[in-house]
């Protein structure tokens, strides 16, 4: 599904990713762990096409297509979803307007008719219930004045409505209390399936208590320096990142 080879990327003139390789197959859950500044978030942003993140070498194939050649919205249409670590607030545009625009754009790219308003409202209300977000949040400005946990649940809500193929979760667990973490983890687990893959970017092992990954990778200095199964996460939890940096 996703094949990242020798990826090099710069942000504000600084080399962040320095030869990253990653292959994700349908249905797999990969956790990417690493110390602060190792390039974890950069990977998500590069895959989502954020302006200012310059790829200087390497390639990314998504379902056989050159991802780096696609516009940000085309990547979304192709099925890539990045759950932001810091979701953006857009005052004056209601969450409902935003969600409908997103879903319609995605459906249109698949050759489907836009949903009628009534069907969409029902879908959105059901999804907000599933992520434990009161329906009143649909009427508010996008993420406007939401708490950290509410923003993360709103990301999950969008993910449920857009039904992406590849979900990249950037530090989705940061800033969540244990109850909110449980809700988000349940939402992610409910979306797992044979055709949908996840890349969980996280600093802590905590999230992986709730979502069991198939693979764990350790990112350090812009490269994946170790890969293993879920036991690697526990090892990291025990020994800290200093150990990995020594190995690297």
């Amino acid at each position: 599904m996703l094949k990242v080879e020798n990826l090099h990327a710069k942000v504000e003139g600084k080399d962040i990713l320095k030869g990253l390789n990653l292959e994700v197959n349908p249905g797999e859950v990969h956790a990417i762990m690493g110390p602060n500044g190792s390039g974890k978030s950069t990977l998500g942003h590069v895959l989502a096409g954020r302006p200012g993140y310059e790829v200087t070498d390497g390639s990314v194939q998504f379902e056989g297509k050159d991802l780096l050649d696609m516009e940000t919205e085309e990547r979304a249409h192709a099925g890539i979803f990045l759950a932001f670590q810091y979701p953006v607030e857009i005052p004056g545009v209601s969450n409902m307007e935003f969600l409908k625009a997103s879903v319609d754009a995605t459906r249109e790219s698949q050759g489907l008719e836009p949903l009628d308003t009534v069907s969409f409202m029902k879908l959105a209300r059901d999804a907000s219930k599933a992520v434990d977000l009161d329906a009143s949040f649909l009427k508010r400005g996008v993420n406007e004045g939401f708490s950290g946990g509410e923003k993360k649940r709103n990301e999950l809500l969008q993910m449920m409505l857009l039904e992406p193929r590849l979900c990249i979760m950037d530090e989705t667990d940061s800033g969540l209390d244990i109850d909110a973490l449980q809700v988000v983890a349940n939402g992610i687990n409910a979306m797992r399936g044979e055709q949908r893959s996840f890349v969980l970017v996280t600093h802590y092992q905590r999230l992986l208590n709730f979502i069991e990954p198939d693979y764990v990778h350790v990112l350090s200095g812009g490269r994946i320096v170790r890969s293993g199964d879920k036991s690697l996460a526990l090892e990291l939890e025990e020994k800290g990142y200093g150990w990995i940096e020594d190995v690297a």
């Binding site: 919205e73 979304a76 249409h77 932001f84 004056g92 625009a101 857009l162």
Partner: protein
């Protein structure tokens, strides 16, 4: 080219008790001269479109326009002529609405005592013109402790007739102590032959509260030069919202005087321009006494080759200690040919005050744009959504749902004529 001064004076009948005021103003008007680009207050606004002979409007012949319902009583003027009858309005006890021309002796005295008490016609040329053309007006009076909760909706429509005509509208609102009222002034019309000069005076007695909305929805050729002049007595609160769609020529002066301690003013506004339209807002907040507060936010979007002016002055007099005043003006240019002249002016003569002001000319936020695109929304639609959000933030703060829902599609339609890009808004 006709004479600017003579061309704007129209012949009209006035009740005897108004005639003196009118004649004195007309004499002053005849002695005044047309502002030029060298006149500071008119530096960026050309009065060339007014170089015509305007006549007084005669009875208009047009179908009644479809009007939104904001939940209160409604009154329609077409080309300055009241349609229907004031006596049919159901207003709460203690609230009265009379036309100057119909005022009985007691009412005439009340009007005469207050009319012109807030607006300084020497300083404001077009307020003087309004006086000079004064033949009628509306007087809204709210007795002490009385409440007008459902917004009174005054619609001023201009028709599509020729030749050029000038409509003079005058509104005097007096809230006695602890009174409350809600008011929507709503101007619309498209004719290039129509010039409206609408002057509103708001007198807020001690502890009174006024919710005031002024919608300048004239578009295309319709012109308006007018103003809102308010005086706030002790502990009164004015919440005033303004919206101007661009047109051939539009200039609104808003002057608020804090005359009693503890007064508060929320002043918010939006201007939306396209084509070669022009809008000019001049606001001036006079903090004359201590312990008053002002929150002022104006936002504008200029497209195509339109031009806008925002001049926001806050004047803190020497006695006005413990003033808190904040002014923000943000502008979005969606075309390289569009223009904004923004000038916040803070004049502070007291030392114990808290004041902030800022004016920006901004681009769309790249972070917001990217966020929308990562959700599949195409760039063009994302840009329109963000422009909409930029101004709609102020509309969404309005407490009247019917008004918000009326304004949403107007805002969206103004941003682009491509309905595909606005279909998810409003």
């Amino acid at each position: 080219m006709s004479d600017f001064i003579q061309g704007l004076l129209v012949e009209s009948e006035a009740p005897a008790w108004l005639a003196e005021r009118r004649d004195a103003a007309a004499a002053r008007w005849r002695e005044s001269s047309k502002p030029t680009r060298k006149t500071e207050a008119w530096k960026y606004t050309s009065l060339l479109p007014l170089e015509r002979d305007f006549s007084a409007p005669t009875a208009a012949d047009m179908a009644t326009p479809a009007l939104p319902d904001f939940g209160g009583e409604q009154l329609l003027f077409v080309d300055g002529q009241l349609q229907g009858d004031l006596s049919s309005l159901a207003l709460p006890d203690g609230v009265s609405l009379v036309r100057f021309a119909d005022a009985n002796e007691a009412q005439a005295q009340q009007i005469a005592a207050r009319l012109g008490s807030v607006v300084d016609s020497d300083k404001h040329l077009f307020a003087n013109l309004n006086d000079a053309n004064l033949s009628d007006g509306l007087f809204l009076h709210v007795e002490a402790n009385a409440r007008l909760e459902a917004p009174l909706h005054l619609v001023y429509q201009t028709s599509d007739r020729e030749p050029a005509f000038s409509v003079s509208q005058r509104l005097l609102v007096v809230l006695e102590d602890n009174a409350e009222a809600s008011l929507v002034e709503h101007f619309q019309g498209t004719s290039p032959a129509a010039f409206t000069n609408g002057i509103t005076e708001l007198v807020l007695g001690a502890g009174s509260r006024l919710r005031h909305r002024r919608l300048q929805l004239e578009s295309a050729g319709a012109m308006h030069i007018g103003g809102v002049h308010a005086r706030l007595e002790r502990d009164s609160q004015l919440d005033s919202f303004h919206l101007a769609l661009g047109s051939e020529l539009k200039r609104i002066d808003i002057v608020v005087e804090h005359a009693g301690s503890g007064a508060h003013c929320d002043l918010n506004g939006i201007y939306l321009l396209r084509g070669s339209e022009h809008v000019d807002y001049h606001t001036c907040i006079e903090h004359a006494v201590p312990h008053c507060t002002t929150d002022e936010v104006f936002r504008g979007i200029m497209g195509d080759s339109s031009s806008a002016v925002f001049n926001g002055r806050i004047h803190i007099h020497p006695d006005a200690q413990k003033t808190r005043a904040e002014l923000s003006n943000k502008n979005l240019l969606t075309s390289t040919d569009a223009e904004i002249n923004t000038k916040p002016e803070l004049e502070i003569y007291a030392d114990d005050v808290q004041c902030a002001h800022g004016a920006t000319v901004a681009q769309l936020d790249e972070g917001m744009l990217h966020y929308l695109r990562t959700r599949g929304v195409e760039r063009a639609e994302a840009e329109v959504m963000l422009s909409y959000g930029f101004i709609n933030e102020l509309v969404d703060a309005l407490d009247n749902e019917a008004l918000r829902e009326y304004l949403h599609p107007l805002l969206a339609e103004r941003l682009t004529r491509d309905t595909r890009l606005t279909r998810h808004l409003a």
